[in-house]
Amino acid sequence: MPRLRIGTDGMTAPLVETTGLGVSYGDVTVLENVDFSIAPGEIVTVVGPNGSGKSTLLRAILGGVTAAKGRVRHAPGLQIGYVPQKLVLDHTLPLTVARFLSLPRRVTHAEARDALQRAGVSGLEGRQMAALSGGQFQRVLLARALLSRPDLLILDEATAGLDQPGAAAFYRRIEEVREETGCAVLMVSHDLHVVMSASDRVICLNGHVCCEGTPQVVAAAPDYRALFGEGTRGALALYQHHHDHSHEHLEGAE
């Protein structure tokens, strides 16, 4: 299988590294022989169809599923900030934004205010979590993840409930956070075109690593096109037309 590796700096020790990682649920193999690593400050996106093991890879990195084969290594003292796909708040649980930011570690008012500001939602401290809009909710989750001063920010489909402009704004925020704090970012997403343009490196996953590299390289890779080009009936091919700015394709799209 052709493997394209571009964008990792061989000199810096990775924050997280998996070698030959395999995960099974019962008889079903979800991940097979996955070699993955992320360097400090890098933005890596994992793309793949439903059931390709994207979320499982994140959970294996977080320690939520055990590896059947291979291993997962964390850099010593690694701080992870995690933004889950969704957080189902039971309506019986009263929770203000300020209280949520203090879970599990108590933070000061100033710290909470700064984190909300960096996530782009200042002044929500006194609101109930259940009363927030989808976009506000995701940004509060981001603010909480930032409070642990993470070396690595992990986002699992963090924009699943947002519309396209909302998702694009959220990812711009993530890039700014990376610039401000220098943390690495690992995300899983369906918003291929938005998320890929913001990434240093893209990993295309389908039970195993199909291809890997800069967004341009992956978008052009046959494995990637085989996975997404046909399944979406050309909708994504249009995005690629949009992105590689070639004349012939632009004409073809009209």
Partner: protein, 264 residues
């Protein structure tokens, strides 16, 4: 002062209320009401076994409650929906417990006392166990509070923060078993779940944070225990059920008040 049976009953009721209410908040938040029922109903089997081998009732009830909790955890996710599994386990445990009790010939046994509690018969020794158990549960829940809350919100969120959600679930299970053992004498196995969830549900509309909800729930539970005890003394009604009736009325009032406030 411990010579008066009403004093002992009051103290016993308050100890149980204080232990059950904060834990009950987690039972409500995590939707574990049926799980609470299963562990509580299993305790009657524990009572029967304790009497058969002459162990203290508290110990037997707690051990069986823990075994039940472990069995439910092991069986969950293996084909049956959780509510079906818990329904089967809770009522089977109760049935086996009742049958086991009937084998204990020669022992004078007031079954009603274990099913619905016999708070007026709380002895000094019982009081020591109730308050010891209550202190243990309150300390355990207070110590793990932040980790428990984080794990309740989302297991992966907890893992990213270095918290093992399975360990926190075990802490809750252990606390639940202790509360069941402590509450048998006060409200009996059939009404323990009521002491857990009704004060918490009653407190919900009056709280903006989890801590406030736990405190309000504890207040409601203590007030309900005291009022219920007084009412049962004056009306000559069974005490455990009377206490539950009082907190149920408080729950209805709280719900009605919230509705009215919501309409205006």
């Amino acid at each position: 002062m411990f010579d008066d049976f009403m004093t002992r009953a009051t103290l016993g009721g308050m100890g149980t209320a204080l232990a059950a209410a904060p834990l009950g908040c987690f039972v409500v938040w995590r939707r574990m009401a049926y799980f609470g029922d299963a562990t509580a109903h299993a305790a009657i089997l524990g009572v029967a076994l304790s009497l058969a081998v002459e162990l203290p009732i508290f110990a037997g009830a707690m051990v069986i409650a823990l075994v039940m909790a472990a069995a439910v955890t092991l069986l969950s996710g293996r084909g049956y929906a959780m509510d079906t599994l818990l329904g089967v386990m809770a009522h089977s445990a109760l049935a086996f417990g009742l049958v086991a009790v009937s084998f204990l010939s020669g022992i004078q046994l007031d079954l009603m006392a274990y099913l619905f509690g016999d708070i007026l018969a709380v002895s000094r020794g019982d009081l020591a166990v109730i308050w010891g158990g209550a202190a243990l549960v309150v300390a355990l829940v207070a110590w793990r509070w932040s980790a428990l809350l984080t794990a309740t919100l989302n297991p992966d969120l907890a893992r990213a923060a270095g918290i093992d959600p399975r360990r926190e679930a075990m802490v809750l299970t252990l606390a639940l078993a202790v509360v069941v053992a402590v509450a048998i004498k006060v409200v009996g196995v059939l009404l323990i779940t009521a002491m857990l969830i009704i004060p918490a549900a009653t407190a919900r509309p009056f709280a903006r944070t989890p801590e406030a909800m736990a405190l309000v729930a504890a207040g409601i539970a203590v007030a309900g225990a005291w009022t219920g005890l007084q009412a049962s003394y004056h009306l000559d009604t069974p005490t455990g059920p009377t206490i539950v009736c009082v907190i149920a009325i408080l729950f209805a009032a709280s719900t009605l008040l919230t509705r009215l406030r919501g309409v205006n």
